[in-house]
C-alpha cells in the first residue's frame, strides 16, 4: 500500500497542492465557460446572488456546529433538527398567532417579524441547551464516540418531536417580504426577500463576533475551548459556559430557521439534510473557526447555486448532495483543518 501513502500525507504536501490547484483551475475554467455559454449574462449574477442568500442561511447553522465543536469536539448531529423544530415553531407564531400576511401594515409586519425572531431564537437556545443538559453533560468523561452516537440518537428524538407536533406536511409562511427589486441592473435582479436574509445575517454575525471576541462570556468560551481544566482553575464555570455555547448555537439556528422560512417550505425532516450541508460548510472553513464557518457556508451556497443554475456541464440539483458530501470527504481526507483552520495534532 506504499504507493497510496501520499494520500493524507500532509508533511509532503506537493501532490495535494498540485491536485488542489488543478482542481481550482478546472473549476474556474468551468465557470468562465458557463459564463460564455449563457445567453443572458445577467443570469450568471442572478445565480451568484441566489448562492449568497442560501449561503447566509447556511452560515447561521454552520456557526452552531463550529461553536459546539470548538468547545466540546462534538459534532452535534441534533443541531439541524433543532433548526427545523425552531423553524416550525416560528411558522406557527407567524401564521396562527401574529396572523402576519402580505396585507399586514408595515409596522405590524416589522414588529411581528422581530418578535418571531426573538421567539425562535429563545426557543432554539432552550432546546439546544436542554439537549446538552440532558444528554451530553453526563457523557463528559465518556469516550468521544459514545457522545457522537448519543448525538445521532438525539437528532432522531428531536426530529420525531417535530413529527409528533407538526406531522409530515410542509409548513410555509405567506410571502411577507415582497420580491420587488432592491436593484435591477441589466436583468440582474436582487429582490428584497433575498436582501432581507443578508440584511439580518450580517449584523447577527457582527454581533456574535463581538460577543465571542470581547465580552467576558466570550472570553470564557474561548478559554474553555482551549483547555477546560485550566479554565476551571481560573474560576470559569465550565458547565455554564458550555450551556451558554449551546444556547448561542441554538439561537443562531433559530434565526436561520426564520430566514429559511422566508425563502423555502419546511417540515420535520428538513433540518437533517440542511444540517449536514451546514456541517460540511463548517468543515470546509475549518471546524472551530468562526470566520471559516461563514466563508465555508457562502462557498457551499455558491457551489449549490452554480451547480443548480448553470447550463454547461452542471450536474444539476439531483447531484447537489453528492457534490457537497464529496467536498466534505475530500476536505477531511486532504485538509482536515479546513481552509482557515490551523493544523492541530488531532487533525489526522
Amino acid at each position: 500500500m506504499n504507493w497510496l501513502a501520499f494520500i493524507g500525507n500532509r508533511r509532503g504536501p506537493h501532490l495535494t497542492s498540485v491536485l488542489a490547484i488543478v482542481f481550482l483551475f478546472l473549476l474556474a475554467a468551468w465557470l468562465v465557460k458557463n459564463f460564455f455559454v449563457l445567453h443572458d449574462k445577467a443570469d450568471f449574477f442572478n445565480v451568484f446572488l441566489i448562492g449568497l442568500t442560501t449561503g447566509s442561511v447556511y452560515a447561521l447553522v454552520a456557526l452552531g456546529y463550529t461553536l459546539v465543536y470548538g468547545i466540546l469536539q462534538l459534532i452535534n448531529f441534533a443541531h439541524g433538527d433543532v433548526f427545523a423544530l425552531s423553524g416550525l415553531f416560528a411558522s406557527t407564531w407567524i401564521v396562527s398567532i401574529f396572523n402576519l400576511d402580505e396585507q399586514s401594515a408595515t409596522l405590524v409586519l416589522v414588529g411581528g417579524l422581530f418578535a418571531t425572531f426573538l421567539i425562535a431564537m429563545v426557543f432554539g437556545a432552550l432546546i439546544n441547551s436542554t439537549i446538552e443538559f440532558v444528554a451530553y453533560r453526563r457523557l463528559r468523561a465518556a469516550p468521544r464516540l459514545a457522545v457522537l452516537i448519543t448525538a445521532v440518537g438525539m437528532s432522531f428524538i428531536v426530529q420525531n418531536i417535530s413529527l409528533a407536533i407538526y406531522d409530515v406536511n410542509f409548513r410555509s409562511i405567506p410571502p411577507l417580504i415582497s420580491g420587488a427589486s432592491v436593484f435591477d441592473f441589466r436583468g440582474v435582479h436582487y429582490g428584497w426577500d433575498a436582501f432581507f436574509v443578508v440584511l439580518v445575517t450580517a449584523p447577527v454575525l457582527v454581533l456574535m463576533t463581538w460577543l465571542v471576541k470581547t465580552t467576558r462570556q466570550g472570553k470564557a468560551m474561548r478559554a474553555t475551548s482551549q483547555d477546560p481544566e485550566a479554565a476551571a482553575i481560573m474560576g470559569i464555570d465550565v458547565n455554564r459556559t458550555i450551556s451558554f455555547t449551546f444556547a448561542l448555537a441554538g439561537g443562531l439556528a433559530g434565526i436561520g430557521a426564520v430566514l429559511f422560512l422566508v425563502e423555502f417550505n419546511m417540515r420535520y425532516d428538513s433540518g437533517f439534510q440542511l444540517g449536514l450541508i451546514a456541517f460540511t460548510a463548517a468543515v470546509l472553513g475549518g471546524i472551530g473557526n468562526l470566520t471559516g464557518a461563514v466563508l465555508g457556508a457562502v462557498l457551499i451556497g455558491m457551489i449549490q447555486a452554480f451547480n443548480e443554475g448553470l447550463p454547461w456541464f452542471a450536474p444539476g440539483p439531483d447531484w447537489t448532495r453528492s457534490i457537497v458530501f464529496a467536498i466534505l470527504i475530500a476536505i477531511l481526507v486532504f485538509r482536515p483543518e479546513g481552509l482557515l483552520g490551523e493544523r492541530t495534532p488531532e487533525g489526522a
Binding site: 500500500m1 497510496l4 494520500i7 493524507g8 469536539q73 462534538l74 459534532i75 444528554a135 453526563r138 457523557l139 468523561a141 465518556a142 469516550p143 468521544r144 464516540l145 459514545a146 457522545v147 457522537l148 452516537i149 448519543t150 445521532v152 440518537g153 438525539m154 437528532s155 432522531f156 428524538i157 426530529q159 420525531n160 418531536i161 413529527l163 409528533a164 482551549q226 483547555d227 437533517f272 449536514l276 456541517f279 468543515v283 439531483d318 447531484w319 448532495r321 453528492s322 458530501f325 464529496a326 466534505l328 470527504i329 477531511l332 481526507v333 482536515p336 488531532e346 487533525g347 489526522a348
Partner: protein
C-alpha cells in the same frame, strides 16, 4: 462465550438439580454448544410450528410470520457484519447502508435483465435461461456481491481510515449519502446510460433455486419464487447465511486478526507500538464487515425480486447501529438478540404493539400511530443505552472492562499523560 455462566444458571434451576449434576460433568465445548444447538433447532423448525402459535398474545399480538422473519434475519446478518466494524475494531460507521446498496445493486446487475444489450448466462436456472441480460447463478451472485462490496469497502477505507474516530464517522456518513443518491440518479437521464434504473430500481431480479437437473435428481426446488413454500425456502436459506456469518464472526474474533482489531479498539497508539499494522488491520475490518453487508443486500434483493433506491436511507445505518449498541458493541450474541428484537419491531412489532395499545390501554378516540415514530423510539433507545448502560444488554466482558475504566483514560494512561506533559519543555501547552 456465555456457555459457562449459562451452565451454572441452568444447573441451579429448581427441579433440574439431577440434570445439573450431569450437565456439569459435560466437557466445556459440548455444554457450550447445547444452548446454541437448541436455538438453531428451534429456528430451523420455526416454519412448521409458527402457525400453531397463539395469535392474540398480549402486547405483541402475533409471532412474526415467515415472510417477515426473512427480512428480520437479513437485518440481523447485517448487524453482525456491522458489529465487526463498530464492535470489534471500534470504527464508527454511519454509512453501512452504502454496503447494503452496493450488494443489492450488484445482485441486480448480475442476475436480471437490466443490461438487455448483452446476453450472458452462467448457471442460471429456470425460464430466465432464455432471457436477455446478465443472468449468473444466484449462488455465485451472492459471492460476487460480497466481494464487490468488500472491494468497495476497501476503496472507501483506504483514504479515510487514517482519520480520527469522529471524522471517520462523518466520512462514512458522507459515503452513505452519496451512494444511494448516485444509485437513484444513475439512469439514462442522469449519466447517459441506464446503470441502475433510476427511481424505478432494478426488477425483476432472479430468484434463487437449484434448476431442473438438481430438482429431478435430488428433489431440490427449481426456483424459490415459484415454489408453494417460497417464504420457507427463503427463510431456511437466510438462516444458513446468518449462521455462517455468526460462525465466521466468532472465529474471526478469536483469530490473530480479531485480536488485532480489539487491540486497536482499546488503544490505537499502543496497538501500533506493539507492531499491529494499523491501516491493514482496519481495512480488513472494513472489507469483511462490508462483505457480509453486501451478501445481505444481495439476498434481500432476490427476496424482494428487486433493488429500489428508496430502500437505502441514512435511517437504515442508524437502525443497524442501534442493534449493535443495544446488544453491546462487540458482543456477538447481544447483537444477534438485539437485532432480532429491533428488526422484528421494525417489520411487525411496532404495528402490533401500537394496535394492542390503542385497543386496550389508550383512549380509543386518539389512536397513536406507533410505527410512525419508529426512529424516535430507536433514537431514544440509543440515548438511553449510551447514558445508562453503554456496554449493551449482553456486554462483552472485555468491552465492559474498557468502559468501566474509561477507554484510554485508565489510571496508568492518566499517569503517563501527566508525566509526558510535565516532560515537555513548554510545560505541555497545546499547539
Amino acid at each position: 462465550m456465555a456457555g459457562g455462566r449459562l451452565r451454572r444458571e441452568i444447573g441451579r434451576l429448581p427441579g433440574l438439580e439431577v440434570v445439573g449434576r450431569y450437565w456439569r460433568r459435560l466437557p466445556d465445548r459440548v455444554a457450550g454448544a447445547v444452548p446454541v444447538l437448541v436455538l438453531v433447532v428451534l429456528a430451523v423448525t420455526y416454519p412448521w410450528y409458527v402457525e400453531s402459535l397463539p395469535t392474540n398474545v398480549p402486547l405483541i399480538n402475533t409471532f412474526p410470520s415467515i415472510h417477515s422473519s426473512v427480512t428480520i434475519l437479513v437485518f440481523v446478518t447485517m448487524a453482525v457484519g456491522l458489529n465487526i466494524v463498530v464492535g470489534y475494531a471500534g470504527l464508527l460507521d454511519l454509512g453501512y447502508v452504502a454496503f447494503y446498496a452496493i450488494g443489492a445493486y450488484t445482485a441486480g446487475w448480475f442476475a436480471s435483465g437490466q443490461f438487455e444489450q448483452v446476453n450472458i448466462h452462467f448457471g442460471s436456472i429456470g425460464p430466465t435461461g432464455k432471457l436477455a441480460g446478465i443472468h449468473i447463478s444466484i449462488w455465485l451472485v451472492f459471492l460476487i456481491a460480497g466481494v464487490t462490496t468488500a472491494i468497495g469497502g476497501i476503496l472507501i477505507g483506504l483514504p479515510t481510515l487514517r482519520l480520527r474516530g469522529d471524522y471517520l464517522a462523518i466520512v462514512t456518513l458522507g459515503f452513505g449519502e452519496i451512494i444511494p443518491q448516485a444509485v437513484r440518479n444513475a439512469d439514462k437521464q442522469g449519466v447517459g446510460f441506464n446503470l441502475t434504473g433510476g427511481t424505478f430500481g432494478i426488477q425483476p431480479i432472479d430468484s434463487p433455486g437449484f434448476g431442473q437437473h438438481l430438482h429431478d435428481a435430488l428433489g431440490l426446488p427449481v426456483t424459490y419464487q415459484q415454489s408453494l413454500h417460497a417464504d420457507r425456502l427463503f427463510f431456511w436459506t437466510v438462516l444458513v447465511v446468518l449462521l455462517v456469518t455468526i460462525f465466521c464472526s466468532l472465529r474471526l474474533r478469536d483469530s490473530r486478526l480479531g485480536r488485532a482489531w480489539i487491540a486497536i479498539r482499546e488503544d490505537e497508539t499502543a496497538a501500533g507500538a506493539m507492531g499491529v499494522p494499523l491501516m491493514r488491520t482496519k481495512t480488513w475490518a472494513y472489507a469483511i464487515g462490508a462483505f457480509f453487508g453486501g451478501i445481505a443486500g444481495a439476498y434481500i434483493a432476490t427476496f424482494n425480486a428487486g433493488a429500489f433506491p428508496t430502500q437505502f436511507d441514512f435511517n437504515i445505518s442508524v437502525f443497524l447501529l442501534c442493534m449493535v449498541i443495544l446488544g453491546g458493541m462487540g458482543s456477538l450474541w447481544g447483537v444477534v438478540v438485539a437485532g432480532i428484537i429491533l428488526a422484528w419491531l421494525n417489520v411487525e412489532g411496532l404495528a402490533n404493539i401500537g394496535a394492542w395499545l390503542n385497543n386496550n390501554i389508550l383512549p380509543s378516540d386518539h389512536p397513536i400511530e406507533v410505527p410512525k415514530y419508529s426512529f424516535g423510539i430507536y433514537g431514544t433507545l440509543i440515548v438511553l443505552m449510551m447514558l445508562f448502560r453503554p456496554t449493551g444488554l449482553i456486554p462483552e466482558r472485555r468491552r465492559k472492562r474498557e468502559i468501566e475504566e474509561g477507554a484510554g483514560r485508565g489510571p496508568i494512561d492518566q499517569a503517563l499523560y501527566e508525566s509526558r506533559r510535565a516532560d515537555e519543555p513548554d510545560g505541555g501547552a497545546k499547539g
